[in-house]
C-alpha cells in the first residue's frame, strides 16, 4: 500500500515538475525575447501620428486676434469694435476688461506680432499702441492683463502694415518701436524710442510691387514684405534688397519659434519657410522648407512656444505643421471667420466663426520625428545646406535638437572598420597557424590564453587605450607606421637565415613552434622602428608629423583617434574571430588535407588552397560574430575616442558610435521624451543588427557542419 502511494506521489510530482518546467521555461524564454518587444514598444510612439479630438465649442464670437493660455482653457481675444476680452472657454464667461486703460475704440487695426501675446493696435485716431499679454493664475482660474506701450503718432493716411515693439538688448533694456506704413504707393519706415516722436524714412518701392502683408524681424532690422505679384522681399535699410519669387500672391507672413524662420503663405494655400543667411559678406534669402498646400488663401500663422510647430489657417480650414520635418500634424476643414489660435504648448487649437468658436485638442507625440529625419539630410535653421547632424541639445530652447542617425551609424561603421582592419588578418592567420602548423602541445596552451583574452573586461581595454596607448601613439605614430616594413624585412632576413640552418636542427626546434622564435624578432623590430622613427620623421615629415599633417593635408591630429580605437577594439575582437575560425579549420576533415599533401602540395599550399576555402563559411561566420561584437562595443569607444559625431573616414580623428551615444546621452534624457525614445530606437537598431549578424553566422555554421558530416 505504502509503496503504491509513494508511486502515485512520485507520479504527481513528475507531472507537476513537467508542468512547472515547461511553463517556467516558456516564460523565461518569452521574457528574454520580450526584451526586443519592450524596446520596440518604447520606440514606436516616435512614429505615431497626431490625435485630434474636438472639444466643446465656446461662445467667443468672431474677432481679430486670439491667444490661448498654457492649458487651453482660457482665451484673450482682441476685436476692433469691442477691444480686449478675457474668456473662460469651458465656463462660457466673458469678462470685458477695464476699457479705460485701452486705446479708444473702435480700432483701425489690430494684429499679433508674437505668439507670446504681443499685439499692436492702430486706434481710430491713428495712434499706434503696443501691448504685452500676461497670464496670471488665481484661485478661480487664469486672468489676463495687458501692459500698454505708446502712443506713437501716425497720420490718417498711413495704413499700418507692420509694427513691432523691440526689446533692446544689453544694458538699460531700451525698448523701441518699429513701424511700417503704406502711404500712396510707397512704404515709410518709422522708428521711435518710447515716448519719443517717430523718425521716418522713405522706402521707394520698386516697380511692380504691391505690398499685401509685412512683418518686422525680431530685432527690427529687416522688414519682410509679401507682394501681390508673388514676391517675398526683405528690406534692410542701407543694404541691397533681397528678393525671392514665391510663386503666388503672398497673403500672410509669420515666424516659427525663435523667429529665425519666416513662414510664408499664398493666395491659393501655398506654404513655405524662408531664412536669411549671412555668410562671407553675402546675405541671402533662402527658401528652405516647403509644406503641403492648404488649398485656400492663407490668412495667418501662429507658432507654438515649445517647438517648431505652427498653426496656419484660411477661411475654410486650418492645419498644424512642423517646420523641420515638414510634417502635417493635423488638418481640419472648418469655416473660419475671424481668426484662429494655437496654445503655447501647441496642443490646443481654437478657430472662431460668426457666432461661436470651435476647439480641438491635438496630441502630437513627437511632431519633429519622421522616418526621413533619421536617414535623410535635413535642412536645419541657420544651416546653408541640408545636412546629417546629431546634436541632441542646444544652447537655448529655440535651438531644436538635431537627431540624424547617420553620423552615429557612420561612427559605428568607422570604428568597426578600423577594428577589423587590425583584427581580421591577425586573427585568421593566427587561427590557421594554430590549427594547421602548431604542435598539439603548444596548441593546448594557446587556446586557453586566447579565451582569456576574450574575457578581458572592455573597461580595462578602454582605459589602457585611452590613457596609455593614445599618448604613446601620439608620440610614436611614425614608429608604428615604420613597424610594418621593418617587421617584414626582419622576417625575410630571419627566414633566409633559417633556410641556411641544417635541417635536423630546424625540424627539432622549429616545426610547430615558429611563433616562439618570432617573439624576440618582433621585439627587435619594434625597437628598431622606435629607434629609427625620429630620423624618419625628420627626413620625411619635417621633424613634426602633426604639423606636417595639418599643413599639407589640413588634418588635425586627435589624440584619441580611430587608430587607438581600432587597436583596442581589435584586441577585443581577435579572440572571438580566432576561436570560431580555429574551430572551423580544425573541423575540416583530415582526409582532404591528407589527399592534398599526398599529391605533393606543401603544408602551406594545403592550408591556403584546401583548408581555407573549405572552412571559408566558418571563417565568414567568425567575421560576422566579430562584427557584431565590434558594433556593440561601448566602453572602449567611450573611453578611447573623443565621442564627437563627425563624418570623416580619416584615421587621425575620432567618432561617436551608436552604443557610446546611448551611454553618453540616456542618463540626461527625460523619460518618455523624444530623445529617450530615439535612443531606444538606436538600441533597437543595435539589437537588430547584431541579432541578424549572429543568426546568419549560426545558420552558416550549421550548414557547414552538415557539409563536413557528409564528407
Amino acid at each position: 500500500m505504502g509503496n503504491r502511494s509513494h508511486r502515485t506521489k512520485a507520479k504527481h510530482l513528475d507531472r507537476f515538475m513537467a508542468w512547472l518546467i515547461s511553463a517556467g521555461g516558456v516564460l523565461i524564454i518569452a521574457a528574454v525575447l520580450g526584451i526586443l518587444l519592450f524596446i520596440t514598444v518604447e520606440a514606436l510612439p516616435l512614429f505615431r501620428s497626431a490625435k485630434t479630438q474636438e472639444l466643446s465649442p465656446s461662445m467667443i464670437p468672431a474677432c481679430d486676434v486670439v491667444f490661448l493660455d498654457e492649458s487651453g482653457k482660457y482665451a484673450a481675444a482682441f476685436d476692433r469694435i469691442e477691444g480686449f476680452k478675457r474668456c473662460s472657454l469651458e465656463q462660457h464667461d466673458v469678462i470685458i476688461s477695464d476699457s479705460k486703460a485701452q486705446p479708444p475704440l473702435p480700432w483701425r487695426s489690430v494684429f499679433s506680432t508674437n505668439a507670446k501675446g504681443h499685439i499692436v493696435v492702430q486706434a481710430s485716431d491713428s495712434r499706434v499702441y503696443a501691448a504685452e499679454l500676461q497670464w496670471n493664475k488665481h484661485d478661480q482660474g487664469m486672468d489676463a492683463y495687458l501692459e500698454w506701450t505708446g502712443p506713437f503718432h501716425t497720420s490718417a493716411s498711413d495704413n499700418l502694415i507692420a509694427a513691432r515693439l523691440i526689446k533692446g538688448s544689453g544694458l538699460g533694456n531700451r525698448r523701441f518701436m518699429k513701424i511700417a506704413v503704406l502711404d500712396a504707393g510707397s512704404i515709410r519706415i518709422g522708428s521711435a524710442a518710447i515716448q519719443d516722436a517717430i523718425k521716418w524714412s522713405e522706402w521707394p518701392l520698386p516697380q511692380n510691387v504691391t505690398p499685401l502683408t509685412a512683418e518686422w524681424s525680431e530685432n527690427g532690422s529687416i522688414l519682410f514684405v509679401g507682394t501681390r505679384e508673388g514676391e517675398l522681399i526683405a528690406y534692410e535699410p542701407n543694404s541691397e534688397l533681397l528678393r525671392s519669387d514665391f510663386g503666388e500672391s503672398v497673403t500672410a507672413l509669420g515666424f516659427a519659434l525663435g523667429h529665425n524662420s519666416l513662414l510664408v503663405g499664398g493666395v491659393s494655400g501655398k506654404l513655405a519657410a524662408y531664412q536669411v543667411l549671412r555668410r562671407e559678406n553675402k546675405v541671402e534669402l533662402q527658401r528652405f522648407h516647403n509644406f503641403a498646400s492648404i488649398d485656400s488663401s492663407v490668412n495667418g500663422f501662429m507658432e507654438s512656444l515649445r517647438d517648431k510647430r505652427f498653426l496656419v489657417w484660411s477661411d475654410s480650414g486650418l492645419a498644424i505643421y512642423h517646420l523641420t520635418s515638414e510634417k502635417q500634424l493635423t488638418r481640419m476643414s472648418v469655416e473660419i471667420q475671424g481668426t484662429a489660435a494655437l496654445s503655447p504648448r501647441g496642443d490646443n487649437v481654437l478657430a472662431t466663426s460668426s457666432s461661436s468658436a470651435k476647439r480641438w485638442h491635438v496630441q502630437a507625440f513627437h511632431p519633429e520625428v519622421t522616418w526621413s529625419l533619421f536617414w535623410n539630410k535635413i535642412h536645419y535653421e541657420g544651416y546653408v545646406n541640408p545636412e546629417y547632424v546629431w546634436q541632441s541639445s542646444g544652447a537655448s530652447d529655440d535651438i531644436e535638437p538635431k537627431l540624424s542617425l547617420i553620423p552615429l551609424l557612420f561612427g559605428t561603421l568607422k570604428g568597426t572598420f578600423y577594428a577589423m582592419l587590425f583584427a581580421l588578418p591577425i586573427a585568421i592567420l593566427a587561427a590557421l597557424y594554430t590549427s594547421q602548423f602548431a604542435s598539439p602541445k603548444f596548441r593546448e596552451t594557446i587556446k586557453p590564453t586566447v579565451e582569456i583574452m576574450a574575457a578581458l573586461p572592455s573597461v580595462v581595454l578602454g582605459f589602457i587605450a585611452g590613457l596609455v596607448l593614445a599618448p604613446l601613439l601620439e608620440q610614436w605614430m611614425i614608429a608604428l607606421l615604420a613597424i610594418i616594413p621593418i617587421t617584414i624585412t626582419f622576417l625575410i632576413l630571419l627566414m633566409f637565415a633559417w633556410s641556411k640552418i641544417p635541417k635536423p636542427f630546424r625540424d627539432k626546434f622549429g616545426s610547430g613552434k615558429e611563433a616562439l622564435w618570432l617573439v624576440p624578432v618582433l621585439f627587435t623590430a619594434v625597437l628598431v622602428s622606435i629607434w629609427t622613427a625620429p630620423w624618419i620623421e625628420k627626413v620625411f615629415f619635417g621633424g613634426d608629423y602633426r604639423n606636417w599633417l595639418y599643413q599639407t593635408h589640413n588634418i588635425v591630429y586627435d589624440q584619441r583617434n580611430s587608430i587607438v580605437v581600432g587597436f583596442a577594439m581589435g584586441f577585443a575582437v581577435i579572440p572571438i574571430i580566432f576561436s570560431i575560425s580555429e574551430d572551423a579549420f580544425t573541423a575540416v576533415p583530415k582526409s582532404l588535407a591528407s589527399a592534398s599533401l599526398a599529391c605533393g602540395a606543401s603544408q602551406w599550399q594545403t592550408a591556403w588552397r584546401v583548408i581555407l576555402p573549405t572552412a571559408s563559411p566558418g571563417v565568414f561566420s567568425a567575421v560576422m560574430v566579430g562584427l557584431g561584437r565590434a558594433i556593440g562595443e561601448t566602453m572602449i569607444v567611450l573611453m578611447a575616442t573623443g565621442n564627437t559625431p563627425l563624418m570623416d573616414w580619416g584615421p587621425f580623428n575620432g567618432m561617436r558610435t551608436l552604443s557610446a551615444n546611448i551611454a553618453v546621452e540616456i542618463p540626461e534624457a527625460p523619460h518618455q521624451g523624444t530623445l529617450y525614445r530615439v535612443l531606444f530606437f538606436t538600441a533597437l537598431l543595435l539589437f537588430a543588427l547584431t541579432f541578424i549578424l549572429n543568426t546568419a553566422a549560426e545558420l552558416i555554421r550549421q550548414s557547414l557542419r552538415k557539409r563536413y558530416e557528409s564528407m
Binding site: K11, I28, P425, I464, V519, A587, A683
Partner: protein, 534 residues
Amino acid sequence: MSRFFEWWRRGSVWVWLSSAALALSLIMVAGLVLLLGAKGLGFFWPSNIQQFQLADGLVLRQVTDHESEGRYHPARIQLKVANRDIYGQDFRWIDLADIQQSSLPKDALFVERLEYGPFIGRLIQIEEYGQVLARGDEALSIARSRLPSAKAHNAQIKTLEQSEAGSLNTRIEKLRLAERKSELQGKQTPQTMQEAENKRKELHQQFEQLQTRLDALRAQSNSLTVTLETVDGHSKVIPLANIARLVSPNSVGLFGKIGTYLSRMWEFLSTGPREANTEGGVFPAIFGTVMMVMIMSIIVVPLGVLAALFLREYARDGWVVRAVRISVNNLAGVPSIVFGVFGLGFFVVTVGGGIDNFFFPERFPTPTFKTGGILWASLTLALLTLPVVIVATEEALAAVPRSQREGSLALGATKWQTLWNVVLPGASQGILTGLILAMARGAGEVAPLMLTGVVKLAPSLPLDATFPFIHLDRKFMHLGFHIYDVGFQSPNSEAAKPMVFMTALLLLLIVLVLNIFALRLRKKLRRRTGGSSF
C-alpha cells in the same frame, strides 16, 4: 639562394607570417597583463625622496617617471610635487640638465594626509594644546607612537557620525514619511500631528546633544598637531588625526619599505575612497561588485537551469526549439548597452515607477525604486548572462550519458526522479562552469550598469546594520565604473592614474581567476565526456 626561393614558393614564408600573427596576439595579452601589473603594483612602493638643487632653489620630491630625450622635450624626469595645498599642482617635469646636485636626505618625510593629498617635507615639532612636546627626530618618534591612538580617536568620531547621527537622521526621515503617509490616506488628526511634533522635537534635541559631544571630541582630536615644513620654507600645522601614514622612505630599510607597501595595499583593499576617489581605497567598489555579482548569480542560475531543462528535456525537438535555441545563443552577442537600455526602460522606469506609486507614495517626488539601484543592475546583468548559463547547462545536460538515464528509467524512476537524481548531479559541474563564466562576464560589464544604478561615490553600502539590512534600492560602486570615472571623468585624473592601474589590475584579476577556474572545470569535464564546441 635557390633553397630560399623554393621555400618562398612552397609558402613557408606564409607559415612564418601566420605564426607572427599568433605571436603578436600572445605578446599583446602578456603585455597588457604585465603593464597593468607593473604600473598597478608599483603604486604602493614607497620610493625614495630626492632633494634636487635647481637654479631657482631646492626641491624635495619623489621621482615618478623618467623620460629620455623625446621629440618635444629634452631628457627630463617627472616629479610628484605633493603639497597640493601649497603649490596647486600634482606633478612637475624637470629637465635633467637643470639639476645641479641631488641627494637623499635622511629626514625627508612622506606624509599621507586625509585632506589635500600627500605632503613631502620635514617634521619640525609636535604640539599638544599649543605646548611643544618635542622637536626634530624625537617629535617624529612621538608622532609615530601616538598616531594609532589619534587614528582610533578619529575612527570613533566617524562611527559616532555615521551610526548615531545616521540613525537619528533616519528616524527623523521616517517620522516625516509616516506623517506624509497618514496625510495621503486622510488619517491625519490634530492629535497625531501633535504627537509627531513632540517626537520630532525630542529627536532634534538628541541630535543637538550628539553634536555637542562630537564637537568636544573633534576639539580634543584637533589639539594634537604637528608642524611640517617644505624644503623651501613653507610650514603647515595639521592635526595628527588628519594624517594617515608617516613614511620616511630614505631612512627605512627594505623590510620597512615592504611593511609600508603591504600596509598601503591593505588600506587600498579595505577602506573607502577619499578626495573625490583619487586617494584612499576601493573597498566599497569591491563590495559593490561582489554583491551585485552574487545577487545576479542567485537570479540567473535557477532561471537558466529551468530554461535549459525545458529546452533539452521537455520541449519537443523541432524547428521551433531550434529557432529558440539559436535566438538564445545569439542573445549572448547582443550588445550589453542594449540590455542596459532595457534595464533602464523596463526595470527602473516601468517596474520601479510602479512600485513607487504603489508602495511609497509618501516619498514622492524622491524616487525609491524609480531610480538606478543594485537590484535593477543585478537583474539586468542576470538577463545579460542568462544565455551563458542556458548554453552551458544545455551542453552539460547533453553530455550526461544516455545509458545512465535509461538505467534510471528502466528501474522505474519517473522522468523527474531521473532528472533530479541522475541527470542534474551529472550536469552539476557543467552548470557550475556556466555560472562562473556568467559571473566573470557580469563582473567585467560596465556599460549596462551606467544606466541602471552604478554611481561614482555611494554614501553607504547596500548592506549594513540598519533594518532591513540589505538595501536593494541603493546605488552602489563598481570597480569597472570606478576605472572609467576616475580615469576619464575626474578633474584630477593624472594624479589618480596609478590608482586606476591598481583598480584595473584588481578587476582583471577577479575576472581572470573566475575564467581560469571555469576553463579548468570545463576542460576536466570535456576530457570526461569528449565533447566539442563546434
